[in-house]
Subunit: 158 residues, 2 copies
């Protein structure tokens, strides 16, 4: 038998529950994880409202207007295989949101750039995603500043 604990349902953190309350780092991470899970739903629904499949939305977000990037960079940012990027870009391109151009310096690479139409949609996407969700927006201003300062540290931003 692995566990006889009575399993407090609805918290989903499971076994790290008691450890978390002794270790601030563990509990902070457990809370972060839960906050993170809640935002998944938000991301999917924003993408769907704009008619974008999830990875298409992630990709469009990466493509800043007037800043061509190679497909390899998209694969890296999406942390997926290059062969997937081919398909994702195919779908974005067939909707006229993105264009493939060749790189004069190296004719193997394909540079991606958003079209005018893609930039308009991207602007709506980035605007919606950048809007802080209730969990953050309703925090007192002092807490928002403190949270910002600590998060800067976690990401190594002095």
């Amino acid at each position: 038998m692995l566990m006889t604990r009575s399993a407090a349902r609805g918290t989903a953190t499971g076994s790290s529950r008691r450890a978390a309350s002794r270790d601030p780092g563990r509990e902070a991470w457990a809370l972060l994880y839960e906050l993170l899970q809640r935002q998944r739903r938000r991301f999917f629904s924003i993408a769907a409202e704009l008619g974008l499949a999830p990875m298409q939305a992630h990709t469009l977000r990466l493509l800043e207007p007037e800043t061509p990037i190679p497909m390899s960079e998209v694969a890296e940012a999406l942390s997926c295989d290059a062969s997937n990027v081919t398909g994702i870009i195919d779908r974005l391109e067939s909707r006229g949101l993105v264009e493939r151009r060749s790189d004069p310096n190296d004719r193997r690479v394909r540079m991606l750039i958003v079209t005018r139409k893609g930039a308009v949609l991207r602007e709506r996407l980035v605007g919606r995603l950048g809007e802080p969700p209730a969990e953050v927006a309703l925090l007192p201003a002092a807490d928002q500043r403190t949270l910002r300062d600590i998060l800067r540290k976690t990401l190594g931003r002095p």
Copy 2:
């Protein structure tokens, strides 16, 4: 033309950049979003190491041993359609990690429960996922406590 800004590459936050520095809530959210993106990769690799596809891992995490839950609850927690859960559970069940049981109270519903084997794997999964990533673990203890306290507030945990 939509934007003439010179587009600071590598930050991915894009247009909310300047607004973020004036608005702590926006910047906190932008940082949180980035932290969140970094953890995606971590989640996928932990799941893959344990031989679980992403949604299978999410599902296994929900199933606390000795606590049967209906498929509808899994669909709700995963925020996906019930028809998907059928397939995800089929795959977990075919590997002997999960079992479907009937609910004597309502013979339409199927209760899910992890098998012994499933509980062992789940314990490894939950253990790995619960381990704070470097971004949090390397934070000074005082910051970890502050972060924990603020995150409790965001999730309405007094």
